[in-house]
């Protein structure tokens, strides 16, 4: 599974402080640690408290780019901040994200070809987050069609079924799993599927347990990628074990070690 490390996000106090203080070392260490723990890419989000989001994004992308060339997911709802990040990103970029709204698609999809980036499409729109898997799949289909209109390859598109916290929107857990399955049937080749995993456990007591259980379930439905915390060792072990159980790699007694040695 393609792992995007979620930790460089200004909503975490330590990251917010580092952005404020210009603490490069902290950010670079966090980038390194996530990659060592198995992240294939890093999400980059300045957070809600950044004084000048555009400058903060530029600083983050440059700082991270000094120590690694893994893909970076430029995570922001603001178009100018997105472009600023894409311009400076020396490695492969992932646009995080667009919704199913026509205006957003028309603004963001052209950036895919322009910056040779991938893009995450959320199955939500101005009306909000749909209740059912069918409604989510409908929005997914609209995103897919638009992407195809812009000549974008399906393996550059990640559909995110938008998982909600289980403590307030319990029914959505099942619907999102079904959405992952439906996305595989949209076309051939189908778009990739992704989840912002930590959202499922917001404000629950044992976040790690909820996260890793849901990840295993999602992998069984065919999930291709996730934004998650790779520093959660139990989570990573669950991911590897779920993939093993899906036959993605050959079993051996030290299968965890074998995966990590990759």
């Amino acid at each position: 599974m393609f792992v995007i490390g979620e930790r460089i996000n200004g909503m975490f106090n330590d990251v917010a402080r580092a952005i404020k203080d210009g603490d490069k070392v902290m950010i670079q260490e966090l980038a390194r640690k996530q990659i060592e723990a198995g992240a294939d890419a890093l999400d980059v989000n300045v957070g809600p408290g950044a004084e000048v989001p555009l400058r903060a994004m530029e600083w983050l992308v440059n700082t991270i780019g000094e120590v690694t060339d893994v893909p970076l997911a430029i995570d922001t709802p603001k178009f100018e901040v997105m472009e600023a990040g894409l311009k400076l990103c020396k490695s492969k970029a992932i646009i995080n994200s667009t919704s199913g709204d026509r205006e957003k698609l028309d603004k963001l999809l052209p950036l895919v070809r322009r910056y040779n980036a991938s893009i995450i499409g959320l199955t939500m729109n101005k009306s909000g987050i749909p209740q059912t898997a069918e409604s989510r799949a409908e929005i997914a289909a609209q995103i897919v069609t638009s992407a195809q209109e812009y000549g974008i390859d399906m393996n550059e598109l990640y559909i995110d079924g938008v998982i909600l916290p289980v403590n307030v929107a319990q029914d959505h857990s099942r619907e999102v799993l079904e959405t992952i399955r439906e996305c595989k049937l949209l076309c051939d080749p189908s778009p990739r599927t992704i989840l912002g995993l930590s959202n499922v456990s917001q404000k629950t007591l044992d976040r790690s347990l909820v996260n890793r259980t849901y990840l295993a379930m999602a992998i069984a439905c065919g999930l291709d990628a996730a934004i998650l915390d790779p520093l959660d060792n139990d989570l990573m072990n669950s991911m590897i074990t779920a993939e093993l159980l899906m036959g993605k790699q050959i079993y051996c007694d030290n299968y965890l070690e074998a995966y990590k040695k990759k």
């Binding site: 790699q249 050959i250 079993y251 051996c252 007694d253 030290n254 070690e257 074998a258 040695k261 990759k262």
Partner: protein
């Protein structure tokens, strides 16, 4: 019609056997195996930089169970590994030898590790082709024999074996200190094969110096089992599993010449045809099947079989 080609994520490791003066050895040539980034011989789909190679077996004693038809090509040298090795190279044009230290087995002569080391030194002095060296395939005795043998061959970058789960620590340490590559064997079990690779790697031994032996079944004696394991292993390698990315070896001669089809006389089995060709054909068929499964090294016995498989390899390596 458009060809449907596959693009694989990864490739098989390339292993080098032998060391010339430049590399600190005394071999006149080196051999490279592996390195393919697609399934066997699909040249239209990828790059296969090295052809499969054949190693001819040389024993350090006269093989007690070899049938006459197999002894015949070596009849004057069977008791002497040095002369036998020279004959393989000079008369049969072989460029890779497998020296089997069969006399060290408690079931044969139980010869000492020191004697084995001396034999290895003498063979290395007599011929300059790259060498594979294997013990008697009894795990415990091999742990006594392989370390001094590895030391005797230090610097020549041989392919040394055979490491199994029971003795891999000693064999790996010996190969590490002698600078050799290692044969890691599992009993037709892909999970154990992967596990053994990890265990060897955990000792600090480089993955790029491991060759896998998934155990070899002769035609009619388990070929399909080995074949399917090799296929799965090769697919895993191409899909990016670093713990399965090793080249593979099959001990074809060893298995085939135990089979009754190779040994039974025409009097006893007239319907099986002339014994002179039967054994070599059995060896050829087994070997060629394994080429298709991804064998990078074939260890074979009969010169006729080797010649035939060499031709087949040449044809299969021709790009369209």
């Amino acid at each position: 019609m458009e060809k449907a080609t596959e693009k694989w994520a990864s490739k098989v490791n390339e292993v080098t056997i032998g060391a010339t003066e430049k590399e600190g050895g005394t071999r006149s040539s080196i051999i490279k195996v592996g390195g393919a980034n697609t399934l066997p011989f699909l040249h239209f789909e990828g790059v296969i930089p090295n052809p499969p190679v054949i190693a001819m077996e040389v024993w350090d004693m006269e093989p007690p169970d070899w049938p006459a038809v197999l002894k015949k090509p070596f009849v004057d040298v069977l008791g002497d590994p040095v002369e036998w090795a020279k004959k393989c190279v000079n008369e049969y044009g072989v460029n890779f030898l497998c020296l089997r230290l069969a006399s060290t087995s408690p079931d044969t002569k139980n010869s000492s590790p020191e004697e084995a080391a001396r034999t290895v030194k003498r063979v290395l002095e007599a011929v300059s082709v790259p060498l594979m060296i294997i013990g008697c395939n009894q795990a415990e005795k091999d742990t006594e024999v392989i370390p001094p043998v590895s030391e005797a061959a230090k610097g020549e970058n041989c392919l040394v074996g055979i490491a199994v789960q029971a003795n891999y620590k000693t064999i790996t340490a010996a190969c590490q200190s002698g600078g050799h590559s290692i044969i890691a064997e599992s009993p037709i079990d892909i999970n154990l094969a992967k596990q053994l690779n990890i265990l060897i790697s955990d000792m600090g031994f480089p993955l790029e110096k491991i060759v896998m032996h998934p155990a070899t079944g002769a035609l009619g004696y388990g070929l399909e089992y080995t074949y399917s394991i090799m296929e799965r292993s090769r697919l895993a390698a191409l899909q990016g599993d670093r713990m399965m990315s090793m080249p593979m070896v099959n001990f074809v001669g060893q298995e085939v010449w135990r089979a009754k089809e190779a040994k039974t006389s025409e009097q006893e089995a007239p319907q099986w045809g002339p014994i002179a060709s039967r054994g070599p054909l059995w060896e050829v068929t087994t070997a060629v099947s394994y080429l298709q499964a991804g064998a990078d090294i074939l260890v074979m016995c009969h010169p006729k079989a080797i010649e035939s498989v060499k031709k087949t390899i040449k044809e299969l390596m021709q790009k369209e």
